[in-house]
Every structure is written in structure tokens, then in C-alpha cells.
């Protein structure tokens, strides 16, 4: 159990700055997921917490104590990597017990701790096998077991499911979450996969170019993205983002003749903005109808992706392509005439130049 506090942390690799004034408090028992593209700084941040990387300046506190100058071994933190990094010549039992040998625990206690963690992770029947005889999922379970066996203050995981196939990844995701609930240890998890982040996190931390973009619970990040990077990184398919102009009470897409009527409350604080505006709207807020409808604009479908449970339908409006999420089979094919409308309550407006969300959706 531990609270982790990151204060004004800067990190340079040579002239390249990978963490830019990072501030973040991770509460005791919280599951925090750091999300971003490769090169965004998330792994560096994790390694800095673990003590596998020094920081150029700033403080890292664990339960109020500064640890940035302490060695990894003195921080009482466990780390799980994407590559399983098990000892191939040892059995599963010996691999899990390994960290306990270092702390000179007696054999009986050690066996008990190993057995308990193996049972939690459902690998008790593999204890006497070598890692090479295990599946990828079981190997990662062993790696997690080895990390948990000495009851560390915090568990750090760097893309632990990255090499597993998608079905196993889904299953392991649920297991990691259950494990977190059962053990209650503070967990920090790094991934580039937004679905993993949305599914696992109490709070998501989004990093891009070494800068913290947004911190919040999954729903907040999805419904109220603070900037264009977050808006486009979270959600699949990606949020539609397109330049617009405001004409009286209408929002007009570039190259389209008619605009969409929006309530005054949605537009009032946009009228004084002098910069270029971009509309951000998720596919589920782009609404399609078969018949002419007040406030909707006539368009032609250009692409259908039937996904079974639902379809993603692309429509062309002026020079802009919009993606809509519909019931499956709602539109029968390409080149069909439909009417498109937008749900103002789910629309976002961004400053095109700075990317900042000018008014979060309600």
C-alpha cells in the first residue's frame, strides 16, 4: 500500500526532454493507467517511479518520503515487463520464490507465500514445471506472481499483455483487475491500448511528447476530452474532427452548403473566439435517418463497415467525411441517400491551433 507523488519531474536523455514538468499524485490502492503513443514518456515515468531511471530534476515521494535518489531495491516496488523475463532453468516455484530468497525468508514461510500467490493466479498446478512448458498467458501469470509474492507497496506494469493474442489479453485484463481488487495494492500500468486503459483504470493519465495531457476517470476522459490529442486518442473508431465555422445559430462544415442548427447555449461562448474552430463529434453522436428530417442534411453513404453488432457508416458532406455508428444493416450499401444530423449535447469545439477544448460537452 502506498501513495506515490510525482512533483515537477523533468527528464532529459541528452538534449531530448522526455518528461516535461510532470506532476501527479497516485492515491493508495488506486489503479492508474498511463496511456500514450510510443515516445510519449509513459514508460520513462514508470521507470522513474521504480527507480530504474533517474530523474533530471524534481521529486518522487512514496508515502511522503523522497525516493528519487534511492536505488530500485530500496523502494519496495515490484515491476512486470512485457517480456516475461523468467529464469528458464528454474521451475515456476523457484521463479516465484526468487525475490524471497533475496530477503532471506525461511523455507516454510516461503513455500506458503508462493502457494498462496500461485492459487490466486490459478497456476498452482504448474509449480513444478519449467517456464518453457507454459503458454504465454501462464508465463505472464508467473511473472506477475513473482512481482506480487513479496507483497510490495506498489505494482508497476509496463505493457504486460502486449505480446499476448487478443483473446488471452481480454481474459488477462479481467484477471489483473480482479487481482488488484483482491490485493488492494497501488498499481501503475502503462499501455498504448486505449481499450485496456478504459477497462482497467480508476484514473487514466494521458501523456504525449512528455507532457501530461489529462488525468481523469475513464468516463470523464471519454466524455470530456480536454484537447484534440485526448479526443482522438481515446475511442474507437476515432472521433470525427473537422474544421467548422459558426453562422448565426448554425455550425457549418467546410465545403458544405448548409449547416446544422445548434442551441444558443452551445454556441454563445464560441462567438468571441477569433481562432479557427474544429468540431469534434464521436461516431455515436452522428445520427442517420432514412427519411428527410428537420435539422438533418441530405448526404450519400461512401463506405460501410459491417461489424456484426453494429455498423460504421461513412457519409460525405461537402469536403468532409463523417463516420456514424448505426444499428447493423441500417444502411444497405454505398451510394445510398440518407439524412445526417449531429447531437449537440455530444459535440465538442476545439481551437484548431492550440487543440484546446473550448467547451466540454454536457
Amino acid at each position: 500500500m502506498a501513495q506515490i507523488d510525482i512533483r515537477n519531474v523533468q527528464k532529459f536523455f541528452g538534449a531530448h526532454q522526455v518528461l516535461k514538468n510532470l506532476n501527479l499524485t497516485i492515491e493508495d490502492g488506486e489503479f492508474v493507467v498511463m496511456l500514450g503513443q510510443s515516445g510519449g514518456g509513459k514508460t520513462t515515468a514508470l521507470r522513474a517511479i521504480a527507480g530504474l531511471e533517474t530523474v533530471t530534476s524534481g521529486q518522487i515521494l512514496i508515502d511522503g518520503k523522497e525516493v528519487q535518489d534511492r536505488k530500485a531495491a530500496d523502494r519496495d516496488i515490484a515491476f512486470v515487463f512485457q517480456s516475461f523475463s523468467l529464469y528458464p532453468h528454474m521451475t515456476v516455484r523457484e521463479n516465484i520464490a526468487f525475490p524471497l530468497r533475496a530477503v532471506r525468508m525461511n523455507a516454510a514461510e516461503r513455500d506458503k507465500a508462493v502457494k498462496e500467490v500461485a492459487e490466486t493466479l490459478q497456476i498452482a498446478e504448474h509449480l513444478d514445471r519449467k517456464p518453457s512448458a507454459l503458454s504465454g498467458g501462464d508465463m505472464q501469470r508467473v511473472a506477475i506472481g513473482r512481482a506480487l509474492v513479496r507483497r510490495p507497496q506498489a505494482l508497476l506494469m509496463d505493457e504486460p499483455l502486449g505480446v499476448l493474442d487478443s483473446k488471452l489479453r481480454e481474459q488477462m485484463r479481467a484477471e489483473i483487475k480482479r487481482l488488484h481488487i483482491a490485493r488492494g495494492s497501488t498499481s501503475v500500468y502503462v499501455t498504448h491500448d486505449q481499450i485496456e486503459a478504459m477497462s482497467l483504470a480508476d484514473r487514466i493519465v494521458i501523456l504525449h511528447d512528455g507532457v501530461l495531457q489529462q488525468v481523469g476517470p475513464p468516463d470523464e476522459v471519454y466524455l470530456h476530452p480536454q484537447n484534440l490529442f485526448v479526443a482522438k486518442f481515446v475511442g474507437s473508431p476515432v472521433m470525427n474532427v473537422t474544421p467548422v465555422r459558426i453562422d448565426a445559430n448554425r455550425v457549418a462544415l467546410n465545403g458544405a452548403e448548409t449547416g446544422f442548427e445548434f442551441p444558443e447555449t452551445a454556441l454563445s461562448n464560441l462567438r468571441n473566439v477569433n481562432s479557427e474552430l474544429s468540431l469534434g463529434i464521436r461516431p455515436e453522436a452522428v445520427l442517420l435517418k432514412h427519411e428527410k428530417t428537420e435539422g438533418y442534411v441530405e448526404v450519400v453513404t461512401t463506405n460501410i463497415e459491417p461489424l456484426g453488432s453494429h455498423d460504421i457508416v461513412d457519409v460525405q458532406l461537402g469536403g468532409t467525411s463523417l463516420r456514424a455508428r448505426t444499428a447493423s444493416g441500417f444502411v444497405s450499401g454505398e451510394g445510398q441517400r440518407v439524412w445526417v444530423g449531429l447531437d449537440p449535447s455530444q459535440a465538442h469545439f476545439f481551437d484548431t491551433a492550440t487543440g484546446l477544448n473550448l467547451r466540454g460537452a454536457n
Binding site: Q37, E170, A174, R178, D219, E284, N303, G308, S309, S328
Partner: protein
């Protein structure tokens, strides 16, 4: 443009059998997706069509002609791989020109320029033509690879997981572009993937491969709603179709898990008989008055929807619900299903009993 027919193709690599009597028919101009896990035989199938691999038995027909003995060049097919394999020292233009400059082709410099310019325009890489490929992003490199395949105007395009190395957003974009390219060129596309979303969203037809055999061929909608067996049922859809063992009693489904009785609209299989009930996660409904009870084991938030894992005495079941539904882990919920959506599978063979 070409029809491709495979007849009874078998292929072994040492002791491993990659393909077992594979029959496959791909129509001229079709976008055909081969879907399968690693080791299912999809890449081997593609390489046999390309002429890069010789089958141990069986025939490859291109437009009705026996092409089994033809070499890769004679087959006039183009292959795009997951790895870009471009010439790093050449510019984009140099890479695109390369296939046209081979000695077997007789193009004038003007013809070459015209073709390269046209292809670059189609793929929106005109502004990159004078750049070295090593300075391109992944998505740009894959466009150049596709461009190099198109420029020869081959009869067939073969693509082996061309989008797998790209990040998710770029994959979404290129998926749409590839489909558009297919409809512009009107050529036969054979696309290999392990990603069911790609298969569903791109294919005119999807062929599901398992252990070197073709299990089912159909439109994406057929594969999704009328799978011929439990393997196909679980190959498409995220999360995959729920399969619940039970018995048919008086026109109802009685589940082994929890002994719950749920209604079905058109039962298939013998009365009192053992079957597997197949129900997609989006057809499981949370309902206060529902006949079945489960405990929430996991909640996955996907923004637009939530995927719940329900636990019934150790049996797990997925349910897709709206993002607005509020549920907590370990909460007990009542549920039902859409009776008209239930499929019936033979517990032993996995066969879909409703298709007999």
C-alpha cells in the same frame, strides 16, 4: 482481373501439415478475406496462389487455366506484406518505378512516369515522390508498398496482414482506403488477416480457416449471423459469441449453469436433447424481471458501450450494454436474452443445428 480456384490443395512442411485438401473459389473482382489464427494456413494459401510455394497435391486455376506449374512472374500477381520491404536508398519514385523497369517489361520512360504519377495520386503520396523511403512514417511506407504492387496493374492483389504493423487509428484510415482502391481498380483482392474486425469490415466474402481447412465462406453478415459451427461463431465478434450448455425442454432453453429457463423463438434439436446455446453479447439483456441471475465479474468501459462479464456459478457470460448503464463489480444482476437471436449447436460436433 481473374478468377482463382484452388482444388484439393495440400501442403506439408516437414511433419507439419499446413493445408489439408483446401478447396476455394475466388471470383473476379472480389475482395476476399482469409481469416484465421496463426498456423491456420492462411499465409501458406496466399503463397501458393502467388506461386511462391508449391502444393504437395491439388491444383491452382487462374481464369480456368491450370497455373499450378507456373512460376510467380507468370501468374501476374502482386504481393503486399506486413513488412514493407522497400529499397531504403531509393526515393519513393524510385521504388514505384522499380517493377516497371524490369527487363521483362517494355515500358518507355514516358509510360513509366505516367503510371507512377497516377498511382501516387490514387494513394495520395504525390508530395512524397522525391523523398527517401527511410524518412517516411509507417503508414506512408505501407502506401508506397501498395503503390509498388498496383503500378504493374497485376491481375490479382495478394495482401498478407498489410495493416498489422500500423497503429489503430492509421489502420482505420487505411482500411477505408484499401476498400476504395479495390472498388476503383476492380481487381481481385485476396487479403489475409487474423483480425476479425478487418475481415468483417473489408471483405465482400470472408473465408474462415482452421487447421488448414476452410470451415465456412460467406458474406460478413452470413458469417456473423449464421455461423456453420461453434468455431466460426467464436471467430467473429468482440467479445465472441457466448456458448452455454444446456437442454431443450418444452421449447425453452434450460441452462446447466444456474438451471435457468429462458425462452427461445425457434428451437432446433431434439426435445430433452443436449445442446450449446449461442447468444451474442449484444443480445443478452439486463432485465430486472429476467429469469436468470448472475454476478458482475468484470466491467469493461469502451466509452460508447460497456462489456460486462457475468458469472453464473463459475460459467462466464458476456453482455454488451449501453455506456449509461451503471453496474458495480460483484453486484448481482438479473438478465434475459433476445429469444429470436439464440442459435443451437451440437455439443459434440459443434455443428449449427439450425442450418440443417
Amino acid at each position: 482481373m481473374a478468377n482463382i480456384t484452388l482444388q484439393g490443395i495440400s501442403k506439408k512442411f516437414g511433419p507439419n501439415t499446413a493445408l489439408r485438401g483446401l478447396d476455394l473459389e475466388i471470383k473476379d473482382g472480389e475482395f476476399f478475406v482469409l481469416l484465421g489464427q496463426t498456423g491456420a494456413g492462411k499465409t501458406t494459401t496466399l503463397r501458393i496462389i502467388a506461386g511462391l510455394e508449391k502444393p504437395d497435391a491439388g491444383k491452382v486455376l487462374i481464369d480456368g487455366q491450370d497455373a499450378t506449374a507456373w512460376n510467380a512472374a507468370e501468374r501476374d500477381v502482386a504481393l503486399v506484406l506486413q513488412q514493407y520491404s522497400l529499397y531504403p536508398r531509393l526515393t519513393v519514385r524510385g521504388n514505384l518505378e522499380f517493377p516497371l523497369k524490369s527487363r521483362t517489361q517494355n515500358f518507355t520512360p514516358e509510360q513509366i512516369k505516367e503510371r507512377v504519377d497516377r498511382v501516387a495520386e490514387t494513394l495520395q503520396i504525390t508530395r512524397l515522390l522525391d523523398r527517401k523511403v527511410e524518412r517516411l512514417s509507417g503508414g506512408e511506407m505501407q502506401r508506397v508498398s501498395i503503390g509498388r504492387a498496383i503500378v504493374r496493374e497485376p491481375r490479382v492483389f495478394l495482401m498478407d496482414e498489410p495493416l498489422s504493423a500500423l497503429d489503430a487509428n492509421l489502420r482505420d484510415v487505411l482500411r477505408v482506403e484499401l476498400k476504395k482502391l479495390h472498388s476503383d481498380l476492380g481487381a481481385t483482392f485476396v487479403f489475409v488477416t487474423h483480425d476479425q474486425v478487418e475481415a468483417m469490415s473489408m471483405g465482400d466474402k470472408v473465408g474462415v480457416l482452421n487447421h488448414g481447412k476452410l470451415v465456412q465462406v460467406g458474406t460478413p453478415t452470413e458469417i456473423y449471423s449464421k455461423p456453420c459451427n461453434t468455431f466460426v461463431a467464436r471467430s467473429v465478434g468482440t467479445p465472441p459469441m457466448n456458448l452455454l450448455d444446456g437442454t431443450l425442454q418444452a421449447g425453452n432453453a434450460v441452462l446447466d449453469a444456474g438451471k435457468f429457463t429462458l425462452p427461445v423463438t425457434s428451437p432446433h434439436g431434439p426435445e430433452g436433447g443436449r445442446v450449446s446455446f449461442g447468444i451474442r453479447p449484444e443480445d443478452v439483456v439486463l432485465d430486472e424481471n429476467g429469469p436468470a441471475t448472475g454476478k458482475v465479474f468484470d466491467v469493461e468501459n469502451h466509452g460508447v458501450i460497456k462489456i460486462l462479464t457475468l458469472d453464473i456459478n463459475g460459467t462466464h457470460l458476456h453482455a454488451t450494454v449501453s455506456a449509461q448503464v451503471k453496474v458495480q463489480i460483484d453486484q448481482t444482476v438479473k438478465f434475459s436474452w433476445k429469444p429470436e437471436k439464440v442459435l443451437f449447436f451440437d455439443q459434440q460436433t459443434g455443428r449449427n443445428l439450425g442450418l440443417d
